[in-house]
């Protein structure tokens, strides 16, 4: 129910075109990069997917995270603008359902943009590398991994957006968090567990142990962030 309601709410806000446009923009990064300077990427001595991701994923992940932050702000802005939130609170449903509906919707849109991006990477590897063995399996693994690592960022930005009533405050905090994620050193495991830094990780070429650690960490973060949000909503309700 929450999912359907969210779909109705965001229908006319430009939410879905913005998500698709962002996905296409991020997907254009590897294609353009290969078109302009393919010799640099082809020169890397690594499997095609890995060298493509190494060359482009930082920028694509940055676009993804910024998109997630902006869309999360927008989703809660539709609730807080003109006090729609107060009406939502009078409905016979839990306030946290609103959050989970939004989260489910964002997660589906994340799947969509990740499919677009991975399709672009598949196109690049077919077109420029010309090797096909196991590429689809690897891409699906990559997609699942990136999706799982993106969910903590989605939850965290929705959490920020649900706490702040004013859109610029949540957007500002989100942008500062993204900035912090770009400043963190990438070789430090503990620091790269920061929810907004997780989507910058690359699946291909990473040791199996590290991948397992990141997957576990992402699940733990998802559980913790969900608990924080539910708790926060309960506490805020008490003081309203």
């Amino acid at each position: 129910m929450g999912f359907e309601m969210e779909w109705k709410k965001v229908k006319r806000t430009g939410f879905i075109p913005a998500f698709l446009f962002g996905g296409v923009l991020a997907a254009a990064v590897p294609v353009l990069n290969m078109a302009v300077r393919s010799e640099v990427v082809l020169g890397i001595d690594a499997p095609p997917i890995q060298s493509l991701l190494n060359a482009n994923w930082q920028m694509m992940a940055m676009l993804n995270v910024l998109l997630v932050v902006a869309e999360a702000c927008l989703m809660y802005h539709t609730e807080y603008a003109d006090n729609a939130m107060q009406r939502m609170c009078t409905l016979p449903m839990k306030e946290s359902n609103l959050f989970f509906g939004k989260f489910a919707f964002m997660a589906v849109m994340c799947v969509v943009i990740l499919i677009i991006e991975n399709a672009a990477i598949a196109f690049c590897s077919f077109h420029w590398f010309g090797r096909t063995e196991n590429i689809l399996v690897e891409l699906f693994q990559n997609l699942g991994y990136e999706l799982l690592l993106m969910l903590p960022a989605v939850l965290c930005s929705l959490l920020i957006a649900s706490v702040c009533i004013n859109m610029w405050v949540s957007l500002g905090i989100g942008v500062v968090c993204v900035f912090m994620a770009t400043m963190l050193p990438t070789d430090n495991f503990i620091l790269s567990l920061f929810p907004f830094a997780l989507p910058f990780q690359i699946f291909a070429g990473t040791a199996k142990d590290t991948v397992c650690h990141f997957i576990m960490a992402a699940w733990i973060e998802i559980v913790i962030l969900t608990m924080i949000e539910v708790l926060f909503l309960k506490v805020r309700r008490l003081f309203e």
Binding site: F15, A18, G22, L66, L67, A70, W168, V169
Partner: protein
């Protein structure tokens, strides 16, 4: 109503917006890693830049590439939302005030926010340089004249970019598009500064200017330098066009 008092009123509107806190947190986060990694500054023999210059320029580069442009996008959202909530814009348009003046007053407020953020960055630079000098037993503190010159250059180079963001937020009514285009346009600036047509991309100006300074200060490292001839006319025409178009669009949706 004089222009100055209009700017004063606009400043009063964002008085309680907490934007200053967000900008302040950003500058603290910017300099914190520099203090922790102050030792790296001594390992720049390859580039041939002195440790104190490297400390300053690396920090400024971190600010100019993402945080500063992104804060300006947040600033445009703030200025926009203040008017949109509770139909503030309609009330403003009903006043006997020229809308062009109103639009420009808001732009000046945005510039003030930019200047304020840069000043805070400079302030935090002195604090962090002081701390780093203590921990590394080496004087990282530079002459204020030099630091302010660099900061002033970033600010001046950012004016076309800020006017472009202002145009986006005024002309595009759907807020997600104006925010999305603004934020997404910052990301490719790293690529744009390495191309020949960097002067056509206002979002890359602040980062380009500070990278050019890095090339000047580092003896063994060359970066492309600012060429005033294609740049100044391009920057001026972009700024004038953006401001002109935003003045035309200002309040158009509400006037219909």
């Amino acid at each position: 109503m004089s222009f100055l008092s209009l700017v004063g009123i606009e400043l009063k509107k964002i008085h309680r917006s907490k934007i200053v806190w967000i900008l302040a947190i950003a500058t603290v986060i910017l300099w914190f890693p520099s203090i922790l990694n102050a030792r790296i500054n001594f390992e720049m023999h390859g580039e041939g830049i002195s440790p104190e210059n490297n400390f300053l320029i690396q920090g400024f580069m971190g600010m100019a590439w993402f945080m500063f442009p992104a804060s300006m996008v947040v600033g445009t959202v703030l200025l926009n939302m203040v008017e949109r909530s509770n139909k503030g814009m309609l009330k403003m348009l009903s006043l006997p005030v020229n809308t062009v003046k109103l639009c420009l007053a808001k732009f000046v407020v945005l510039l003030t926010l930019a200047a304020f953020q840069i000043l805070m960055t400079v302030g935090m630079y002195y604090v962090s340089a002081g701390i780093a000098s203590q921990t590394q037993h080496y004087n990282f503190i530079l002459q204020p004249l030099f630091v302010f010159k660099e900061a002033g250059m970033i600010f001046a180079a950012a004016i076309p970019m800020i006017s472009f963001f202002w145009l986006l937020s005024v002309c595009i009514q759907t807020s997600i598009f104006s925010i999305g285009i603004g934020l997404a346009s910052i990301v490719p600036s790293v690529l744009m500064i390495n191309t020949k047509i960097w002067f056509a991309y206002p979002m890359a100006y602040p980062f380009f200017v500070i990278t050019a300074e890095y090339g000047k200060l580092a003896a063994n490292f060359t970066t492309s330098q600012v060429e005033l001839i294609p740049w100044l006319p391009a920057a001026a025409s972009i700024t004038i066009f953006c401001l002109f178009a935003s003045c035309l669009c200002f309040g158009r949706a509400e006037r219909r």
